[in-house]
Symmetry: none
Subunit: 146 residues, 2 copies
């Protein structure tokens, strides 16, 4: 299970270390995609197989005939990349993904159970700030949903 928050720097070659704690649970390669709320999702290849497999079986044999599937697949697959974890545990963030979430030098790597999320540090802090107050309200809501 991937948990915890780690702050690391991107070097000038766009490499960022996967925190050692995460590294053990992720194999040799990972898949990076744009996530929701302006962050990147990092999946293990297994998890990616599961996600993309679940989605493609909804695609018909000729998925390009449907507009909604074209839009969806272009955004999902077109913006994903498989990257190798280097010998000392770093991954390379492609420029177009870096730009997409406004990532500069400082990144927050966050374990969210089955995936890792990468945030630019300022957006991460802002997000935590903004959602902190909601937390207890959401808890109440979850409790009453029972």
């Amino acid at each position: 299970m991937l948990i915890g928050e780690y702050i690391h720097r991107l070097d000038e070659k766009n490499r960022v270390p996967l925190p050692a704690k995460f590294r053990r649970e992720m194999g040799k390669n990972v898949v990076i995609t744009p996530g929701l709320d302006n962050c990147l999702f990092v999946f293990t290849t297994n998890e990616w197989e599961r996600v993309s497999g679940a989605l493609t079986h909804k695609n018909s044999e000729l998925s390009f005939l449907r507009r909604d599937l074209r839009v969806f697949n272009r955004n999902l697959f077109g913006q994903a990349t498989e990257v190798e974890i280097d010998s000392i545990g770093r991954i390379l963030i492609p420029n177009f993904l870096k730009d997409k979430i406004g990532l500069k030098e400082e990144a927050a790597l966050v374990g969210v159970g089955d995936r890792v999320e990468i945030w630019s540090l300022p957006s991460w802090k802002k997000y935590l700030d903004e959602t902190e107050k909601e937390q207890s309200a959401i808890a109440e809501k979850l409790a009453s949903d029972e």
Copy 2:
């Protein structure tokens, strides 16, 4: 699986490199056709067999009886070309296809799972911009289609 986005230049002989990551999954030849939404589809020869077979026999063994299929298939098949990947991994874009999608110097090559798409860079950016917001709505829709 073909994923990711790569920006490359066409040289003045209309050659564009297939990104190395794609090259490994595509054989010696590919088929290029006009795609949908103002891009080109690039299929491996295998994938092309599958796609063209499925289209030819769509709905009936005698697709030429339907006007809409005649229109669609004439555009798809009539404008398709098989091109060879050269010794260092480039493909040649025929002029009429280049013109069809308004391709100038800068091209985006996008992996969409089972095919590669070629876009003129400005149209690709515009398309992503315009469709990004739809993505989560389509995701919800796909999820509820179960």
